[in-house]
Subunit: 423 residues, 2 copies
C-alpha cells in the first residue's frame, strides 16, 4: 500500500471502484455497530456487579453513625468523602458527594453561577453582558454543550501534547468576560493526553481578570489506565491554593466508569470556603443525594488501592479493544497517510485526525454502513470542527468481534472519502 497521493489517476479509479463494491457488500449486511459513546461493555458491568449485594440488610446501612436510608447529610456520607479525597489527593472536607453523574454537578455549578453567582462573582452571570469560556479542543461535547446552552461565547484553545496551549490561555484570561475553562487533565477526552506538570502548574497559577473565573477540572479518568501502571497526578486544589487561587478550582470525578455508568456516585471537590458558599445554595435544592448508593460504593471500592486494583481488571477488558483500534488504524490507514492519531495509554477514546475535509463524509458513509459514531464536529465548540478532521472512536462498548468489524468499515469509509475528495 502506498500513500494515495502517489497513485496515478487510473490506479485511483480502480481502487475507488473496488472500495465501492466492498462498501455496497457491507451495506447489504444491515449491520448495527456502535462506537459513539464511552459506554463500558457488558463484560465490564458484570465485573462490578457484586456491588449489588454489598448492602443486604438494615444493619449494613449504618456508617459513621448515620443510617443512610433516611434523610439528611446534604454534602454526603463522610466515608464517601474520605474515599474520593484519597483518590483525588484532596481533603474530605473539600468533597461534596453527588448523584449518578458528575455532569449534573458541573451543569449545576454553572447554573448557580448563572442564577446566583459564584463566591467571588460581582453579579449573577445572567446579568453579565457577555460570558466567554475557554474550550480546549478537541474536547468533550457535553462540556461545550452546557456552555452553549447558557448562551456563552465559546473560544477554542488548541491542544498540544502537554495539554491546552497555555500561552493562549494566559493571554485570554486577561479578558474579564472570560469566566472559565474546561480541563480533562488526565487522559483527556478525546485525545487521551495527560497534561504535563508544567501545564498543570501554569493552570493553577493563572491570574484571570474575572474574580470568579472557574477552572473546571473534570478528572473523569483519574484512575482509568488502559496500558501500564497507575499514573499519579497532583492535587489541583492544593496547587491552586499555593498559587493564591484556592477558590478558583472545581474538581469533578465519578464512578461512572468504575462501577455502573447509570448508577454510580460523583464528587465535586472545592475549597472549604467554596463548599460553604455552594452548600448554602444547594440546601434549597436537595436534602442529600442517595447515601445508600454512596455506602454501597464505599463498601465495594474500599479505598484507593483497591479501586486501582479494580481498574486494572477493567483495563484487561479494554486493552484488546484499544489494541484492535490502534492496530487496524496502523495497518489500514497508516501507510496511506490519510490520518494521524494519538496512542493513548488510558481513558476511553482514540482521537483520529483525518486530512482536512474528510471527517463528516467518512462518518456519513459509516452511518450508511450501519456503524454509529460520535457526530463529526462534536469534539469542537458549537459542534463545528473548522478543519472537518477530528473523529472520536469509542472502543469500549462493542465486543471485540463487532469492534473489529466496525473498525474495518471505518477504515474503508475513510479511504472512500479520501478517494472521493481526490477525484
Amino acid at each position: 500500500m502506498e500513500p494515495f497521493a502517489n497513485l496515478t489517476i487510473p490506479q485511483k479509479e480502480a481502487l475507488l471502484k473496488s472500495l465501492r463494491e466492498e462498501f455496497d457488500r457491507v451495506c447489504g449486511k444491515n449491520l448495527k455497530l456502535n462506537m459513539a459513546r464511552g459506554k463500558p461493555g457488558k463484560e465490564q458491568l458484570d465485573l462490578v456487579s457484586d456491588i449489588l449485594t454489598v448492602l443486604t440488610d438494615p444493619a449494613d446501612c449504618v456508617c459513621d453513625g448515620i443510617d443512610v436510608r433516611n434523610y439528611g447529610n446534604l454534602s454526603g456520607l463522610p466515608a464517601a468523602k474520605r474515599l474520593f479525597a484519597e483518590i483525588l489527593g484532596c481533603k474530605p472536607e473539600q468533597c461534596f458527594i453527588g448523584g449518578s453523574a458528575s455532569l449534573q454537578l458541573m451543569y449545576d455549578l454553572i447554573a448557580k453561577a448563572w442564577t446566583h453567582g459564584l463566591r467571588h462573582s460581582e453579579r449573577p452571570w445572567s446579568r453579565e453582558k457577555c460570558v466567554k469560556w475557554l474550550c480546549p479542543a478537541p474536547g468533550y461535547d457535553r462540556h461545550f454543550g452546557i456552555c452553549a446552552h447558557f448562551g456563552m461565547e465559546l473560544i477554542s484553545i488548541p491542544m498540544t501534547a502537554e495539554g491546552p496551549d497555555m500561552d493562549r490561555v494566559e493571554e485570554l484570561v486577561m479578558d474579564p468576560q472570560v469566566k472559565g475553562i474546561w480541563c480533562v487533565p488526565k487522559y483527556s477526552n478525546p485525545q487521551g493526553i495527560v497534561y504535563s506538570r508544567k501545564t498543570v502548574e501554569r493552570l493553577a497559577a493563572l491570574k484571570p481578570a474575572a474574580p470568579d473565573f472557574a477552572l473546571m477540572w473534570d478528572n473523569a479518568y483519574c484512575v482509568h489506565e488502559v496500558f501500564g501502571e497507575f499514573l499519579p497526578f497532583p492535587d489541583i486544589l492544593q496547587l491552586c491554593a499555593e498559587a493564591g487561587n484556592a477558590d478558583m478550582v472545581y474538581e469533578f470525578a465519578s464512578t461512572s466508569k468504575i462501577t455502573f455508568p447509570g448508577a454510580g456516585i460523583s464528587v465535586m471537590a472545592a475549597s472549604e470556603d467554596n463548599q460553604a458558599y455552594l452548600q448554602s445554595l444547594l440546601k434549597f435544592q436537595v436534602i442529600s443525594y442517595d447515601k445508600v448508593n454512596q455506602l454501597r460504593h464505599v463498601r465495594f471500592l474500599q479505598n484507593k488501592a483497591h479501586t486501582v486494583e479494580l481498574m486494572a481488571k477493567h483495563a484487561e477488558v479494554l486493552r484488546p479493544k484499544f489494541a484492535c483500534v490502534l492496530d487496524t488504524l496502523a495497518r489500514e490507514i497508516g501507510p496511506l497517510e490519510l490520518a494521524s492519531w494519538e496512542n493513548p495509554t488510558g481513558g476511553y477514546f482514540v482521537s483520529v485526525n483525518t486530512r482536512p475535509g474528510l471527517a463528516s463524509r467518512t462518518l456519513e458513509l459509516c452511518a450508511k454502513a450501519g456503524v454509529t459514531m460520535t457526530a463529526a464536529g462534536a469534539t469542537y465548540p458549537y459542534g463545528k470542527d473548522p478543519a472537518d478532521s477530528n473523529i472520536r472512536i469509542a472502543p469500549s462498548y462493542p465486543d471485540l468481534e463487532e469492534l473489529t468489524q466496525a473498525m474495518e468499515i471505518f477504515c474503508l469509509c475513510l479511504k472512500l472519502a479520501a478517494l472521493e475528495q481526490a477525484g
Copy 2:
C-alpha cells in the same frame, strides 16, 4: 381543667409556679427529642429494607430490553414510568423519572424557568422585572424556600378546609407577574387537608394572565393514608387538559416515604409537549437518573395495589404515633382553649394553631427542654407567621415512648407560654 381565661390571678400564679418547677425538672433531664421533620422512623425503614436485595446479579438488571447498569434513557426506565403513571392516574409518556428527591425536580423546573423559560414563557424569568408566586399557607417550608431563593415575591393564600382560598387565587392570577402556585393536594403539609373536588377543578380551570403560569402539584402524600382506606384522587393532568390548560401543570411525587427517604426515586408528570420541551433542556444536564434504583423500585413496589398494601403497613406504624399526638393535645390542651388543630387522616404532620403570639415562645421553651421542632414561622412565606400561631408537629421519627415524652413537654411549654403571655 378549665380554660386559662377563667382562672383568677392567684390561680394563674400558682399554676405558673408549678409549671415552671415541672419545666425545670424536665430541663434537668438533658433530653434530645426530635419532632422537626417528616422523617420515617427506623421501624418504617426496616419494613422496606427487602428492597436492598431485589437485584442481586447481572441477569436481574435488564428490563424493557434495557441494561439498567449502563448509560442512557434520559427520561427514565419505561417500567418506572408505568408504575408512577398507574399510581398518579396519568400516562407513562407524561412521566420523567428523577433521582432520590422530588425537591430536586421542583427546584430544577424553577431554575430552568429562570435561566431558559418554560414552554410558553416570553422570556427567561431572570429577565422579568418581578416574579410573584402564590403560597397557600401554612405550607411546606422548602417550597417557599425555593421561591425566596430566586428572589420572587411570595404571596400568602389562606388555606380553607377545602384547600387554598380559590376566590383569592382566581383574583390574583389575573396579574401577569404571578407565575405560579404551590399545591399539596392530598394531606397537605402541614395541615393534612385533602383539597375538595371543587377546589381541584377550579385550580385546573384557572385562567392566569401569565402564559407560563405553573401549577406546581406536589402530590407528596398521594398514597400516604394513616387512618382509613386508600383515598382516590383525580388525575390533575387530565383535568387541566380538559380545561384547556394541558401545559399549565407539573405534578411531582416520590417514594421518599414509601421506601427509603434518602434513596428513593421521584417523578415529574407533565404534558407530552412539556416533556419534549423540558427534556430538550435536561439533556444538557443529565444522561439519566439512576436506573438501577428505578428498577429496584419497580421490582419491589410492583404496582399501585401492592404499593397501597405496603403503605397500609407504614400506616400501622404511624397510627399510634398520630394517635399519641392527637390524644395528648385533646387531653392537655383541648380543655384550656389554647390552641386548635386539624385531625388529619394521612400525610406526615399535625398542624397546631395556638392563640396568637404563642408559637415562637412555645418552641423556644421546647428547645430549652431538649425537644427540637420545625422553627416557628417555617410554614409561612419568608418564615414569618403573621399571627405567630402555627406549629408543625412531625410524629414519625421518634419511637412511641420518646414521642409521648416530647408531646408532654410540648404541651407543658405551650401552657407556660400562654400563662407568661397572660401575666
